[in-house]
Symmetry: C2
Subunit: 144 residues, 2 copies
Amino acid sequence: MFNNKNIDDIIQIFKENNLKLTLQRVNIYSYLRSTCEHPTVDTIYKNIKKIIPTISLATVYKTLNTLVDYGLIKMINVCEENFRYDANIDLHGHIKCTNCNKVEDLYLDTNLINSLSIENYDVQNFDLFLYGTCKSCSRELTTV
Amino acid sequence: MFNNKNIDDIIQIFKENNLKLTLQRVNIYSYLRSTCEHPTVDTIYKNIKKIIPTISLATVYKTLNTLVDYGLIKMINVCEENFRYDANIDLHGHIKCTNCNKVEDLYLDTNLINSLSIENYDVQNFDLFLYGTCKSCSRELTTV
DNA sequence: TTCCGTGCAAACAATTTGCAGAATT
DNA sequence: AATTCTGCAAATTGTTTGCACGGAA
């Protein structure tokens, strides 16, 4: 089920943060680290339920909030009702295909990031979300 | 109460979009056009209530959704539970002071906007939110 | 043994919906 | 006169909370 390297990393990270190692937490965090789909709470819940059928939605919420508080994951909102979660905490943006709704990571070059600094503000963080149509959707849309 | 130029513009815009001219709508849209505070639904509701005490929250929601659907206003989410609304639909970003929570408009130079185009995607829109501390808050925070 | 996390159910908050009456065209 | 909007209340959805029990340290 688990890749050992990955699980060792997670144990290490939890210990550093004085977070108790529970099956629920490890699975949620591990799942988030393994996916690049930027899942919503609902998707996370459904996936973890396959492994831990007794898990409750409240636990998923509590765990996600804890992981956000400890800076281990990030919440993103790409023009949607719901938030999505991302275990990739490197400075990066996101691009959403407005047709198929997938959200991909977007690495920005350092110059661009630097040029985001603004007069009058001490900028600590940013969210950059691009919206458009991905290649396969464009193809599909023009063919029809 | 109303600036005539402004109200004339709004009447014109509503007519172009076949939107019925109602007191509620005109006031909500006019209020959004007059403010640069990026208010939440609740703030909008409270402010419009001063002018139309009988207005209901449901009407505020319905009106905002209509205006969004017609592309007259935009919803933004700057890492908050609630959405904020902006009647400025020019391509621009936002910067939020994480201390006083104010949200300001951020005009980006064209080069920067152009450099946001991405391989594999036909980019149509973007959200850029910067987070940091504004000058007056920085001063306040270092003085204490 | 202490403390924290989990799971349940209830509570809460934000938003949407259905519908009758009112206002706009 | 036809259509659309408003305002109320109820419904829905997403999220949080309180608490007793269970598991991790």
